[in-house]
Symmetry: C2
Subunit: 320 residues, 2 copies
């Protein structure tokens, strides 16, 4: 089968053997895969990754001995592959299993290939009414909704999402259903307009109205290490900053401000994909405007090049 292969900072396509499923696994034919900033970090050499990337997928189940009802259905997949035996896994929290593998990131081949073997337990069926291009957003949308799973968001809270990249847009479009007054701030009028067209209040980061600060919650999704300092300047005393940026440069943190104003800084990673599928199926947000381009698997190198350009939105690989 054809697969994307990352090695030494290069994107290649290779012929690899089709995976064999182990007990408990399902064989999934991949339909659409999304490129994520994490894939670009893998390419840049973080995590010492080498292999098949891809963790945002929608696919068609071809074999699933342990869950035969899934055969012939379209699915998305939770990317966390827990050990299954540790206390966290037994409590249903494979996301934080210390020995977990992560699809296409760590210890498990990813979805940028024609076929993929996955634990059947990780698969979630996709509603009929959702297109493949919509369903592929389930994984990043789950991450965007995660702040609302970690802390209580109330309707009257003053919430700011910082950063108008893919993740910031999804955060704003999703979280505003908890807090309708949410504001999205970013540097790109074109991207802000995508959120504004769906009812989000938007501001340019340079707008003096933002400078007044005093937000109860700031979701830091700028993707830049300096975003944290900006978030600290905008949150109120005793407020919360949710950090979504996984920058590999250390951030400089004004700990005195954090302590004196008793601010909470909360890290936030991936989330509840069933909730994300609900949001997509109920059309609580429109994700198609976030799609920048779509390429066949054989053109993965072009797809990565486009995704790596500053300001790029979602780039997909289409294997159908």
């Amino acid at each position: 089968m054809l697969a994307v292969w990352l090695e030494k900072g290069r994107v290649e396509t290779r012929q690899l053997p089709r995976p064999q499923i182990e007990p408990g696994e399902a064989l999934v034919r991949v339909l659409v895969v999304g490129l994520c900033n994490t894939d670009l970090e893998l390419l840049a050499g973080y995590y010492g990754f080498q292999g098949v990337p891809g963790h945002e997928l929608v696919g068609l189940v071809e074999e699933a001995p342990s869950r035969p009802e899934l055969v012939g259905r379209r699915v998305v997949a939770d990317i966390n592959l827990g050990c299954g035996v540790c206390p966290l896994c037994r409590a249903g929290d494979a996301r934080h299993c210390p020995d977990r593998k992560a699809l296409g990131i760590k210890g498990a081949p990813g979805a940028m290939a024609e076929y993929l073997a996955l634990p059947a337990a990780n698969l979630m069926p996709v509603a009929e009414g959702l297109s493949d291009q919509e369903a592929v957003f389930a994984e990043p949308l789950a991450a965007a909704l995660e702040p609302a799973q970690q802390i209580q968001l109330r309707g009257r809270d003053r919430v700011l999402v910082l950063g108008d990249g893919k993740l910031g847009l999804l955060c704003a479009l999703g979280l505003r259903h908890w807090t309708p007054g949410l504001i999205l701030a970013g540097r790109h009028p074109g991207k802000l307009s995508i959120a504004q067209a769906q009812g989000v209040r938007v501001l340019l980061s340079s707008d003096p109205a933002l400078g007044q600060g005093g937000f109860d919650l700031v979701v830091e999704a700028t993707g830049r290490p300096e975003g944290l300092a900006q978030a600290l300047s905008l949150v109120r005393p005793e407020g919360v900053i949710v950090a979504k940026t996984t920058s590999h440069e250390p951030s400089r943190l004004d700990l005195a401000r954090l302590v004196v104003d008793e601010i909470t800084l909360l890290g936030s990673r991936c989330g509840d994909m069933r909730l994300a599928l609900h949001f997509l199926a109920e059309r609580l947000l429109q994700v198609e405007p976030l799609i920048q381009a779509s390429y066949p698997l054989a053109q993965a190198e072009r797809a990565f090049a486009l995704a790596g350009r500053p300001g790029a939105l979602k780039v997909l690989l289409d294997l159908r």
Copy 2:
């Protein structure tokens, strides 16, 4: 009256006029004052401070027209002097009033003087059975108990206090009543033994037993910017770090670890002095072993010199 005066990195004593009270204020004759790391930072030039420092006090009320029942009683004082009219002050949270003054720190003369004028509303009477040297710990002990006011501590939580300085010792001695299994880790066997003698489990920071990490909560009270990285290495995924260190050097924060493991970092400053007085009056901890030395006001320079030595515990000024 005699008062300590900090200016240009020097500690002096000066004769100053005795303060006149304004409406709503009380005149307090100071009995004992504690030196705190913040006082050392004021001396070092942070905040551009110049004037009379001192915010840990016990005193005797001489005049209090608005609260005559306090006259002749010993009191401690909340150091936050709110504006009284903003929404936070009206909600009873002068601690975070944006226009607040802070006794001996910002905008209001401190307690290292024979007399002090203070809003009568900030005063809390001290129980008869408490000595002046114990009562003067109400302010730092309130700060030490503050983590338990910000998050729920349960008996079974795995809690680590990092740092065996004055604040770390008070945190461990106080917070263990919420979580008896609490561990205090530090670098000084002599200081650790103060906590151990009162029933706290202690470990040297270099002890391999600590390296296993996995704590639900780490209270970072090392006073050093690098303490944050150590706390991050010891907290479990989805765990909480409470930051008590107000270092003025920026800390380096591994934001990727925070995000991937969804860790909460919570700033924590001063706290509920009524709760601290309760802990002292009920003898839930012994604070006298934390007293390093006591000087008369006229020897304030010596007191500051001793308090500034690495490893120094609590230094008091005794005006009685």
